[in-house]
Amino acid sequence: MTENEGSNNQKSGADYVRAMFAAMITARVLENKLSSLYKAGKIVGGVYLGKGQEAVSAALGAALIPGKDIFAPLIRDQAGRTAFGEPLIDCARAYLGSALGPMRGRDGNIHRGRPLEGMLAMISHLGSAVSVVAGALFAKRLKGELLGCVGATCVGDGATSTGAFHEGLNLAAVEKLPLIVIIADNQFAYSTPTSSQYACHDLVDRAKGYGVAGHSVDGTDFLACAAVIGDAVKRARDGDGPQLIVAKLLRLSGHGEHDDGSYVPAEIKQSHYGRDCLDVAEMQLLEYGILTKEVIASMREIAATDVQAAVAQAQQEPTPDPYQEVWHAWSTERFYSENS
């Protein structure tokens, strides 16, 4: 992890929002590139984007301390991954099937991770990361290393219906672990609207049931995300136990790039949550004088150059070789025999 290295404190103030915004821009440029590569037939498998969720995801990623905190990103967390310090080449390699990537072609796209460095490699089974992050925090406690650490994961509204989500959050609450769970309530789980997903008035009401702190935030409001999510992470860090944050937003793409999201009604697209958090962010940053137009333009340019360079590099790297592959799933090498 490159960015933020050496810093042992949670970012705050202008540093924090600038880091957020930089990650959001990079994520958006990167994801547009991924979409384009997909539509040019360069990507094997699916492409899943976080358009519309960047503010929420970046607010979390930028509030975490790499090398210290645990982060389990989910499907729409490119901005959070970038803010947490994941190099762009990891993403390019995973999507383009480079053998040099973190998953070496054995797994792809958003399943990548760097578990040794505290960024977990997600599996497709929703909700399952909640207890895993809790376990990592539990281990830190047993080792006496928990002080000042947090763990975080994102889920969508759909994952809140799983048993794993419930079990994991309840366990974290019982153990009073510094776990931040963000529910990106983006109104659709693939094509299923939230009316078929949950019957409570607002998912944040569940926080009380779990005995954890609950927070609501408008996921399209850049500064609100920074305030609410940054604060929740700080509370967890300071020993306030699990934090459940429900961010309201709208997914601004299909479930994946194979899906045009045509089932999303026009009135929802034109509603308040249909606005683009990047536009809101730019407006707010200019309004508060945190960044200038020129700086933003140059940030965009740098992002475009970096993304293009990563994609160009990954495309020319070797792909995995089935004849050289170690076809064993154990790490214990003495079990490697043709008969075992």
């Binding site: 973190p102 578990p115 490699a121 376990g135 080792k143 154990w330 790490s331 003495r334 075992s340």
Partner: protein
């Protein structure tokens, strides 16, 4: 002074907690209460904070262990009954089992599964789950049949970097006694010839090893047949070399297991022997498993559901008269 199978499990955990600071125990009712079967009796007092009661959340218990293992710990999770591990199935087979292959980082967790039938336990407290987990790449599945193996294999399981499903047989807990925990030091992945013979080979594991030995003794007294019994010890990895060497001696194979009949360990053993040792076979290989129904509650039904010395003798007589 003799020790039991459950003593071995408790002692092994005490040994591990004492020797390795990375080890902790997690499970339902295992702290002050000492576990549903008293496998952790007294350990929470000896090792405060390292023997922890879990909520009734098998999925989260397994997930928690995975997260802790990724942070460098060596968790041992007690499932109250193997049957309930079905709730943790996803975390075990999709999260833990795939992790090393996907990321290069192993997940050293040990899941203790109190397995198998006892009279009156019924459909949801009697299951044998080894087949289900052995199906998945990346998992190690061990099935100790002796007091010494229960002890040494639990210690070795925790030392292995791969996720281990440790199937401990509930029937053996207090029924099986030995003079000490000391055994022959065989490692996981190696089968043992429990009883020498030359007329037929019974390949089995866990509690069925003892049923097979009883059947073998009966046939010896009855008609002088000498039955060899192979204890697989771990069903994955499967030590097919020892099995083939035994079948090479006897020419006749009975694969015996307490699990349900469809697919499974016995089917795997037969398939591999036929594939790799067809020329060794003097008779069609046989399988004997539990019946293809849920495990019944009533002791009379239960006794007829699983293989017994009587049914094993019947199978062997058929095999020997071929």
């Amino acid at each position: 002074m003799s020790v039991t199978y459950i003593d071995a499990i408790r002692e092994a955990q005490e040994h591990l907690l004492r020797d390795d600071p990375r080890v902790f125990l997690y499970g339902q009712d295992i702290a002050a209460f000492g576990g549903a079967f008293k496998a952790t009796k007294g350990l929470s007092e000896m090792f405060p904070g390292r023997v922890i009661d879990a909520p009734i959340s098998e999925d989260a218990m397994a997930g928690m262990a995975i997260g802790a293992a990724l942070e460098g710990m060596r968790p041992i999770v007690e499932m109250q009954f193997a049957d309930f591990s079905s709730i943790a199935f996803n975390q075990i087979v999709n999260h833990a089992a795939t992790h090393f292959y996907r990321t290069g980082m192993p997940v050293p967790i040990t899941m203790r599964l109190p397995s198998g039938g006892t009279a009156g336990s019924g459909p949801f407290h009697s299951q044998s789950m080894e087949t289900i987990y052995a199906h998945y790449p990346g998992v190690v599945v061990v099935t100790p049949a002796t007091v010494a193996d229960a002890y040494s294999m639990l210690i070795e399981s925790v030392k292995l970097d791969d996720p281990v499903i440790y199937c401990e047989h509930k029937f053996l807990y207090r029924w099986l006694k030995a003079q000490s925990f000391k055994g022959d030091g065989l490692p996981i992945g190696q089968a043992r010839i429990t009883r020498m013979g030359r007329h037929a080979t019974v390949v089995t594991y866990s509690a069925m090893v003892h049923e097979a030995v009883r059947a073998a003794e009966r046939l010896q007294q009855e008609s002088g047949w000498e039955i060899e019994v192979v204890d697989l010890r771990s069903v994955k990895p499967l030590d097919i070399d020892t099995v083939l060497a035994s079948v090479a001696r006897t020419g006749r194979l009975l694969a015996l297991g307490e699990a349900f009949p469809w697919g499974g360990v016995t089917a795997e053993v037969v398939a591999r022997v036929v594939a790799d040792g067809f020329h060794l076979l003097e008779a069609p290989p046989m399988r004997l498993n539990a019946r293809d129904t849920p495990v019944p509650y009533h002791p009379k039904l239960w006794a007829a559901h699983r293989p017994t010395p009587e049914s094993i003798c019947d199978s062997l007589r058929k095999l020997l008269s071929y």
